[in-house]
């Protein structure tokens, strides 16, 4: 026994010393399990390239359970001193994680640089990494949501495709409903086997429709949540009416059958309802180019604006960011890695491998980087909105989702559902209002 311990000790110290001899600094980099496979690959590749360029660093990439809003593992690991140096964090939660005390303030490190990073990145994503005017992460990529349509299904239904030409601007929701409902199909029991358009599928969140109907979700001047803003209410009313026209229960059965919400993670990419032709329209983002290439390369599709009244061109953008965690072993090294992943090299990888849009202004000008299908998305970025970066962002998101569910099941009217959101979240927000 004793000799075994000695051996272990010897091996351990050997490894320790050799590690030291090479002078390699280890950077522990965490990806969360809800990143798309292509995104994970891109980050992984970025870590490898960084290691090759900077042999004194060794980046260890680990995928850990977690999602956009669920950071249980990250929190407990950091709290117990076993956390990573760097992690990929959903950008709209940065303010919240910073308020929690999970992240390291990057401002002092940024000040040492010759260039002003806030000028390098586009404005929307940059605003999302700030909390109380300090930067807590660097944005790695962004996206935009649009209406995708299946040309083949539309042609079969005898629908004139020219109406969906982006040059004609966003389609009016009423006209859109007339068209979409032509594509509904049901079996002998009355259960839907195809629905032209389910507005709440994939990226049809409350934010999507709230913005499409001209709503706003937060009043920064007064530190007030504005979920009851008339535009937002109209957006939710649109969902309510659409669900009613479909029959809420039948629509729910359809969604649960072909999309298995909310356990969407269990659905293989190839079975996403838009790829299988179960829906003819869907709201989703540029990232599906990467999956489409793999699972539905022959899909004949088109893209256009999200339907909205009065020709309002609306969309919103999200995206990921990389942050340094409290208790990081080597903050300087971590920062250097951060700059690489969120820099031109890392972002180029994300564009190429995961069909992301960049957040660096200079990269957006680089036309060689983008396939033709990106141009519509890039053109939307100037008008694109984002979720308000709030220290209660995750709670607000969950409550808006709850209201959406109440509305699409027709169990509550939009106004009362959204009032409940404000009532639940504003008291939490008040703690941060000064």
């Amino acid at each position: 026994m004793k000799s075994q311990i000695k051996t272990l000790f010897a091996i351990g110290s050997f490894l320790w010393f050799t590690g030291g001899a090479y002078g390699q600094t280890e950077i522990k980099f965490w990806l969360n399990s809800s990143l798309a496979a292509n995104e994970k690959n891109a980050y992984q590749k970025a870590a490898e390239e960084f290691g090759q360029k900077n042999p004194k660093f060794k980046v260890n990439v680990e995928v850990v359970p977690g999602s956009e809003t669920d950071v249980a593992k990250l929190m407990t690991a950091v709290r117990s001193g076993a956390g990573p140096d760097v992690a990929v964090v959903d950008r709209f939660t940065i303010a919240q994680r910073a308020a929690t005390g999970l992240l390291v303030d990057l401002t002092p490190l940024m000040k040492k640089e010759s260039k002003d990073l806030s000028q390098e990145y586009s404005e929307g994503p940059w605003r999302e990494v700030l909390y109380q005017n300090k930067a807590y992460a660097l944005p790695t990529n962004t996206d935009a949501r649009v209406l995708f349509y299946n040309k083949q299904l539309l042609k079969e239904a005898g629908i004139d495709l020219s109406e969906f030409d982006p040059a004609k601007g966003p389609m009016d929701p009423k006209r859109f409903q007339e068209i979409a409902f032509k594509l509904n199909q049901a079996d002998s029991s009355g259960a839907y086997t195809r629905i032209g358009f389910v507005p709440w599928l994939e990226q049809g969140w409350g934010y999507t429709w709230g913005y499409a109907f001209g709503g706003s979700f937060f009043d920064f001047a007064n530190c007030k949540l504005t979920a009851t803003d008339p535009g937002v209410v109209k957006g939710y009313q649109f969902l309510y009416d659409w669900a009613k026209a479909l029959n809420p229960r039948k629509a729910r059965n359809f969604v649960d059958t072909y999309w298995q919400w909310p356990s969407v993670g269990t659905l293989p990419d190839a079975q996403m309802p838009f790829f299988t032709g179960r829906v003819a329209f869907v709201i989703t983002g540029n990232w599906i180019f990467a999956t489409m290439k793999e699972v539905a390369p022959n899909l004949d599709y088109g893209v256009t604006y999200i339907p909205a009244p009065n020709g309002l061109k609306s969309t919103w953008s999200g995206g990921w960011s990389v942050a340094i965690l409290q208790g990081a072993k080597n903050v300087e090294a971590a920062y250097e890695f951060l700059r690489f992943v969120a820099g031109e090299e890392g972002q180029t990888l994300l564009v190429k491998k995961a069909a992301s849009l960049p957040t660096i202004k200079a990269l957006m000008q680089n036309k060689d980087l983008f396939a033709p299908e990106y141009s519509f998305f890039l053109s939307l970025l100037p008008v694109s909105k984002s979720r308000p970066p709030l220290p209660v962002g995750a709670l607000y998101w969950d409550k808006l989702k709850e209201a959406e569910e109440a509305v699409i099941t027709n169990s509550e009217m939009p106004e009362e559902a959204l009032k409940a959101v404000v009532e639940a979240v504003q008291p939490q927000m008040d703690r941060f209002c000064k």
Binding site: D70, R79, L102, A191, S263, E402, E405
Partner: protein, 302 residues
Amino acid sequence: MTMKLRHHRGVAKDIRSLLLGLLFISPWIFGFFLFLAYPVFSNFHLGMTEYSGFGEPEWIGLKNYQELFHDSLFWTSLCNTFYYVILAVPLGVVVAIVLALAMNQRVREVSTYRALLYIPSIAPTFALSMMLIWILNPRYGLFNYILGFLHIPAINWLGDTRFSKLAIVLVAQFGAGQIALIFLAALRAIPPHLYDAASLDGAGAWRKFWYITLPLLTPTILYDIIIGVGLGLQVFVPAYIMTDGGPLNSTMFTALYIYKNAFEYGRVGFAAAVSGLLFLINATVAVITFWSSRYWVNYNLE
């Protein structure tokens, strides 16, 4: 004098053996204080603070509890949890006894049956839940397919507020094999001569079960209820994996609510208050169950 001395020696010996005894169970004592008593105590402390998980907890007294009492979602979660416990625990006892009886048949292939009946309990709840999402699919799921033979129309198990909790109760039954093993041991411990005597008196299988087997299983049933209620009040995994608390919060169980507050909303203090309350509820229910046991648990084998 000698008596006194002997007495002294006796005390010294007692103390010595007490210390020795304590030493022998010290890993348990150590574990109890470190992993149970301390966390419970510090949880109650955290429940009276505003705490994000980082930095210093800020003392706010009973404010969290005040908020809790006005928080409708907390009450919803508590109702959901009790709904689950009230259905899942008794059903669990029945399923486990049936499984144990099946495992106890005198047939040649009994070991195969035992293995088959036990296998679902080995599957981690996480994996089982993932699988059940598919089995419970409203249109293509195996479960609705079987119900189709009974001319029961397709049910959207996880997407319909009327069935979502029931679905999770059903999921829990896959783990019944675990407790069935304990029932099996209890069944084997019942002296065969009792059955022989009953047979001589002309008792049939049902009477034997009702008047011999069941009364002699009551200590095990008590055990099952205590464990089942304790675990049931903390039900988490199936809802976390399959429904995320939905639809319309119909599967928002208290443990999930605690989790969301602590790890998604960064409200560790509030979450600690909820878990403190859940702990008290759990303890109360356990005490009541124990107290009631004197009326229905049969400890006399003679």
